[in-house]
Symmetry: C2
Subunit: 414 residues, 2 copies
C-alpha cells in the first residue's frame, strides 16, 4: 500500500490568460480519492510545445502517474499528441482502435464524419486509446520510464467520463491505490467559521479523520475526510460527534443545498407554503424550486416589488405603507397575512427590506430586512441588519427565511 505519486498537468492558454479557472484538477481529485489515489501536485501550462515538454520531463522522474488535460481536439491549438510524440521519441501513427472509436462515436451521434477529425486517431507509437463517451477525440495512455501518462480532453464532462470509465480502471489494474479517501461534508447556517471551529470536538475525533472548512456564503461547509480501510466507521463516529455539537445548525449534507434540505422538511411536515418577497426579488422561491418536487409544498410566491403590487396583489392596507413604510414590521406582517389569505396556505412568510446599494436612510440603513411568518395562531416578525453588498444581503435574507421555515417545519414534526 505504497503511495502512488500523481501529478495533473492542465494545458491551455485559457488557464493562464485569465479566461477561466482550472476546475479539472479538483474534479480529478474528487474522482480519484474514493479509489485510493491522491494528487501530489498540479501544473498549468499554455498550449506551447516547449512548455508541455519541459513540464513532462520534469514530472516523469518524480511521479508514478501523470494525468494531462487539454489539447486533444482537431483544431490548430490541439497539439498534445504531436508534442508528446516528439518529446518521447515516439512518432505519430494512425491507431486502428482509435480510428474505430471515432467512427463508432460519429455513428452514435448520427453525424457525418469530417475527414479532419480523423487526425484525432494519430497517436504516439504504443499508445492505448481511451474511448470518449461524451465527445469525439479519444484520449490515450502510454508508459514512459515506469510512469503512466494519461492524456485526457480538457472539456470537463469529457474528462470526467474518461477518467471514471477508462483511467481509474486502468490504474486499479496496474498501480493499486492506497486505502480509499472518503469525504463527508456538512453545511451549517447561523454560526461563524470561528464559532463552529470552537465547537468541533477535535480532542474526541478519531485520529485519522481530518476536518476541512470552506465557505459557501452564507453557509459554512465542513468536510470530514478519512483515508483508511476502516474509513466508513471512522467517519460514522466523527459525524455523530459533530452532529451532537452542531446538529442544531446543520442545514445541508453532502452537496445538498439548504433549500433542498428545507424543502424535504416542509414536505415531510406536510406544510403548504406561500411566500411574499420584496427585497429578495424571487431568490427564496428560486432556491426552493431549483429542486424538483417543490410543487408538493409551495403554492404561491408573490414578488411584490412595487408598493402598488403589495396593495393590489396582497391587500396590504395603503395606510400601513404611508405610516410605517414598505420596509417595516407592520408591512412585513401584512404581506404575510395577505399572501396567506390569497393562497389559503397553512404557512406564509414575507420579506421586505433594503438590499441596496441605494434606498438606505439613517433610520433604516441598507441591509435592514424584516421577516414575518404567519400561520394558524402564529405571528412572528423580526428586523435584521445584514452587512455587505446587494447580492450578499439578498442571499443572507433568503437563507434566514429558509432558516425560519426549517425551524417551523422541525417544530411541526416534533
Amino acid at each position: 500500500m505504497s503511495l502512488i505519486r500523481i501529478a495533473v498537468l492542465a494545458t491551455g492558454d485559457e488557464l493562464l490568460n485569465g479566461s477561466i479557472s482550472d476546475t479539472n484538477t479538483r474534479d480529478i481529485a474528487l474522482l480519484l480519492g474514493p479509489a485510493g489515489y491522491r494528487l501530489s501536485t498540479g501544473r498549468s501550462v499554455p498550449d506551447r510545445p516547449e512548455q508541455i515538454v519541459q513540464a513532462l520531463r520534469q514530472l516523469i522522474p518524480h511521479h508514478d502517474v501523470i494525468i494531462t488535460t487539454g489539447g486533444l481536439g482537431s483544431t490548430g491549438d490541439d497539439l498534445t499528441a504531436k508534442t508528446v510524440a516528439q518529446a518521447l521519441g515516439r512518432p505519430l501513427e494512425e491507431n486502428g482502435k482509435a480510428l474505430e472509436m471515432i467512427h463508432k462515436r460519429y455513428a452514435e451521434m448520427g453525424r457525418e464524419l469530417d475527414p479532419v477529425v480523423l487526425r484525432q486517431a494519430l497517436l504516439p507509437q504504443k499508445s492505448v486509446p481511451l474511448p470518449n463517451t461524451e465527445g469525439t477525440a479519444p484520449g490515450f495512455w502510454l508508459r514512459q520510464q515506469g510512469c503512466d501518462l494519461f492524456f485526457l480532453p480538457g472539456v470537463p464532462t469529457e474528462m470526467r467520463s474518461m477518467l471514471k470509465n477508462a483511467v481509474i480502471p486502468a490504474l486499479q489494474r496496474n498501480k493499486p491505490g492506497a486505502a480509499p479517501m472518503l469525504t463527508r461534508s456538512f453545511g451549517f447556517f447561523g454560526l461563524s467559521e470561528p464559532q463552529i471551529e470552537s465547537r468541533i470536538p477535535y480532542a474526541n475525533l478519531p485520529q485519522d479523520v481530518a476536518v476541512g472548512f470552506s465557505l459557501d456564503y452564507p453557509l459554512v461547509r465542513i468536510s470530514l475526510r478519512a483515508a483508511s480501510d476502516n474509513a466508513e466507521n471512522l467517519l460514522d463516529s466523527a459525524e455523530a460527534l459533530l452532529v451532537e455539537q452542531l446538529g442544531d445548525y446543520l442545514v445541508a449534507r453532502g452537496d445538498e443545498t439548504m433549500a433542498a434540505h428545507v424543502g424535504q422538511l416542509l414536505r415531510r411536515a406536510g406544510i403548504n407554503l406561500s411566500l411574499a418577497e420584496s427585497c429578495t426579488g424571487g431568490l427564496i422561491s428560486q432556491m426552493l424550486t431549483s429542486v424538483a418536487g417543490a410543487s408538493d409544498f409551495l403554492a404561491l410566491s408573490a414578488i411584490t416589488y412595487a408598493d402598488s403590487a403589495k396593495i393590489d396583489c396582497l391587500g396590504v392596507d395603503p395606510d400601513i405603507i404611508v405610516t410605517y413604510g414598505a420596509v417595516s414590521a407592520e408591512c412585513a406582517l401584512a404581506m404575510a397575512h395577505g399572501v396567506r389569505a390569497r393562497s389559503r396556505t397553512d404557512l406564509s412568510l414575507a420579506v421586505t427590506g433594503i438590499a441596496g446599494p441605494d434606498g438606505g436612510t439613517d433610520e433604516k440603513p441598507v441591509g435592514t430586512v424584516f421577516l414575518a411568518l404567519a400561520a394558524e395562531n402564529v405571528d412572528q416578525v423580526r428586523c435584521y441588519q445584514f452587512k455587505g453588498e446587494r447580492q450578499k444581503i439578498q442571499q443572507m435574507s433568503s437563507c434566514m427565511a429558509l432558516e425560519w421555515l426549517r425551524r417551523f417545519a422541525i417544530e411541526s414534526l416534533n
Copy 2:
C-alpha cells in the same frame, strides 16, 4: 520591452484534495494583463515544506517573478514564511514594519490583538512586508538570484487587494511590463458556439487581436484580446466588426449579465413590467432583481406554482386548466393577461412548462415550455422544447424570456 516570465505557485492541501478549485491564478492573470504582464506557468502544491521548497527551487532559475499564494496566517498549516526562510537560508526575524502593519490593522478593525498573530511579523531576512488591507497577515517580497518572489495570502479578496495595491506597483518600478493586454468580452444568446464561430470575420480582424470562447450557459461568451500599445484602437475595430456580424444576438458586454442588459433596455424604454412564472420558479425575477434598480421597471412577479394559485391569484379560468392543462399556450396567455390586469402594467410575460425530471408525458415531454407576452394590442405565445436537466431547462427558459423582453424593449425604442 522584453517579456517578464511570471509563475504562480498556489499552496494548500485544499487545492489538491478536491475541496476547492484554485481561482487565484485566474484572478492574478486578469489583474496583471492590463499592466502588461502575462503568466508563463502555474503550479499547485500541498502545504508541505519539502514540496514548496522543491517548487521554488525549480521555478527561480527560469522565472523573473514568482507569485505565491497561501500559507500566511497564524495557524498550524500556515508555514510559508518558515519554509521560505529555511529554503533560502534567510532566518526568520521579527520585521518591524510588518509588526506595525499588524497593530495598525487590528486598531482599524477595533479588535483586540491575540499575541499569536504577532507570529505573522516573523519574516525571512531582508523581506519587504506587503500591507493586507482585507485581512491581518502581511504578505512579503524578497529577491533571490534576480527573481522577485511575492508571498500573498490565499484568501481571494486579500490576495487581490495586495496584488493590486502592492505587487503591481512594485513590479512596475522594478520590472516594467510589456504592452498592456486588454480584453473585451461579449455575451451572445440564440446561436450555438459553432454558429457564432462561423460568423466571426476572422479574415478582417486586426492581426494582433485574439478571439477566445467560453460557455456561460446558455450564453456564449467571446473575448477579444490585444497586447499592444495600440490595443484600444485594435479592439475598437475588432468590436465594430463583431457587432456588425453578430450584434443582433449580443445580450451582454463585459461582466454584465443578460438580465442587467435587459433591465437597462426596459428602463430606457420606460416599460412597466409584470411576470407570471411557473416552471422557472422565480428565476426570471431573481435575475432581474439581482441588479439594483429593478424597481424602476418591475412591479409584480407572481410565481404561481400550484394550479390553485394560477386561478386565485391570476384569475386563470379553471376551464382552461381542465381543458388544455396548466402547461399550454392557452394557460400561458391567460397567466400573462391575468398578471397584467392585476398589476396594471404595460407589459406582462408568463412562463409555464415542465422543468422535470418528473411530470413529462408523450405529448408534452420534459422541457416543454410555453412563453406568452401581453401588451396593448399585442398577444404572443410560443412553445419551446428545451433539452437537459431541470436547472438547464429553467435557465434556458428564463433567458428566452429575457430575450423576448429584450426584443420588445428594442422595438419600443425604435
